[in-house]
């Protein structure tokens, strides 16, 4: 199994290298693309901060703290978007019957799909996340850093990436039955990203539970950031829960991976 995983990673790398090579042929275009993507995501971030012009805090959260929340969210989401590029357009792949081809190769269908449509422009959101993080640090000069806080932040971002990848994979799996649900999946991914750029506690308890225990997007940003900022978690959950992010992420990934495998068997192809 480890050998397979290693070979899959190598394959993924080959798929990326060749696409990067193609995209680097038009450098001017590419930088423009990255910058405009940075611009768009930067604007989203600024819009979020505008709340703090009339108000000093949001349920006790200061501007720097919310900025950190949003920054970590951008990093998790941005990484998942960069790595899982091809899943986004899965409905197109299905509609055009191109998934047929994927099934005719002796390597993982999942790796082929995510490696299918790599876009360097998506570095824009990650750049925005890093800039936003720097800004957050600027607003929080008194923040005390420890080794564990750095660790939690790191595994939080990686777990968040896995969680978002699993959500889009679930959405993609639905396409095996119908491609008319892409809007719903988009609402779930983009919506949860937007919502969880704010402190979780501003939402109704049902939603809080949903994002903690069902679709655990809170682990992509809110839970690790609370640990870093030494803020209490809702429902009296222990702060150390942040260290469990990878387990939550892996469980969620296993479940969606299993559903995906089930979906592949139901693939109906297209008539043409």
């Amino acid at each position: 199994m480890w050998r397979n995983l290693w070979e899959d990673l190598q394959l993924y790398q080959h798929l990326l290298v060749i696409q990067i090579k193609a995209q680097l042929q038009y450098k001017a275009n590419l930088s423009l693309d990255i910058i405009s993507y940075l611009g768009i995501t930067g604007l989203e971030f600024v819009a979020l901060l505008l709340y703090f012009v009339p108000f000093r805090t949001l349920l006790g959260w200061h501007v720097g703290e919310v900025a950190m929340l949003a920054a970590v969210m951008s990093l998790s989401f941005g990484l998942s978007e960069l790595i899982g590029a091809g899943i986004d357009n899965f409905s197109v792949l299905i509609n055009r019957g191109e998934f047929d081809r994927v099934l005719l190769r002796p390597v993982s269908a999942f790796v082929q799909v995510i490696g299918n449509d790599f876009r360097l422009r998506r570095l824009g959101r990650i750049t925005q996340g890093m800039l936003a993080f720097a800004l957050a640090l600027h607003f929080l000069p008194a923040l005390h850093w420890t080794f564990f806080k750095l660790l939690v932040l790191g595994i939080g971002i990686i777990s968040g990436t896995i969680i978002f990848l699993s959500i889009v994979l679930l959405g993609a799996t639905l396409c095996f039955w119908t491609v008319e649900t892409t809007e719903i999946t988009n609402i779930l991914t983009y919506g949860s990203r937007e919502m969880l750029s704010y402190p979780l506690t501003i939402y109704h308890q049902v939603l809080q539970r949903f994002f903690l225990f069902i679709v655990p997007v809170a682990f992509a940003s809110y839970v690790p950031v609370c640990y870093v900022l030494e803020r209490p978690l809702p429902f009296g959950l222990p702060a150390e829960l942040a260290l469990a992010s990878p387990i939550v992420a892996l469980l969620f990934a296993l479940v969606s991976g299993w559903i995906w495998t089930f979906g592949v068997r139901h693939y109906q192809s297209t008539g043409s």
Binding site: E7, Q10, L11, H14, L15, I18, K21, A22, R96, G97, E98, D100, R101, L103, L104, R105, P106, V107, Q112, L174, W177, T178, E180, T181, E183, I184, R265, H266, Y267, Q268, S269, G271, S272
Partner: protein, 352 residues
Amino acid sequence: MTVIIDAQALQKNFRVAKRRPGIFGGLRSIVDPEVRIVSAVQDLSLQVQRGEMVGLVGPNGAGKSTTIKMLTGILTPSGGEIRVAGLTPIHQRRELSKRIGVVFGQRTQLWWDLPLLDSLQLLRHLYRVPEARHRENLKQLRVMLDLDEFIDTPVRQLSLGQRMRGDLAAALLHEPELLYLDEPTIGLDVVAKARIREFLLALNTQRSTTVLITTHDMDDIETLCPRILIIDHGRKLYDGAVKDIRTRFGGERTLIAVLDGSELARLAMLPSAEDGLATLPDLPAGVRLLKLDGPQIELGFGREALPAHELVAWLGARYTLRDVTFREPDIEDIIRRIYEKDLLLGDIGMPV
């Protein structure tokens, strides 16, 4: 000889969901789907021996592509049994994919934005072919398919014929023992078609690759496939030699005779029928005059009407002949007649 494809009583039904507009329509379609069942393949059995080239023919929507997709493991059959190269396609799909090559004429597996060579290199990783073997195969295919002149061109700039050659190379780099071709010559010009047929024949002789090909082009069949399967509405209508189809359903053959110049005056005197075409007096039963053009006469005659040599003798007794040739009925016409009249449905003498 050993069997490479063995399919028994294949069946495929598609559930086609009715579309409802809007987001909530989409949601409703999942919870409460309104489905219609399309039966694409029904009770289809087929056996292919190693090294054979078999043509799968039938009108649009007959179920050819669906059959190929089941034989490759893309689609799960609704019923029936399949073994391909000793494997069960749907359960051993990845295993099987190392041993088969597939070309869909309507789609490409090459990357549009990359030079052809890059795609061919990338495929080494997608099929996990050892580097030395890949290099050797690529070298051979470059020669056989004459890829060198455009191997550095991005695929989107290739002509359809060049792209198809690229796709054939892509499907063969891992040396499959069985090649499925779904309409590989569609849209190609005559020269490009001829080139591809030549290549496939060479492949079949040199590597003894088994080929299953679907096509609309009867010239493909006549040059490549000694054996065809005709299917329509998902059912098998015929399975056997192409030449037997001619003898059994052949319709009319044509005798083309060129008469001696001295006969021209006599020909000009022939009486005309109402439609303006000349008539030959006392033609044997079952023989028709098709065309009269200067000294050339074309006569159509059914196989059961009389043997060809008797017709030549009949004509020779009346005119001085300079040359006689025969034209076999167009296989495309025969097959069209077979679909249109369901000639074979319920035919007890069906050779299988």
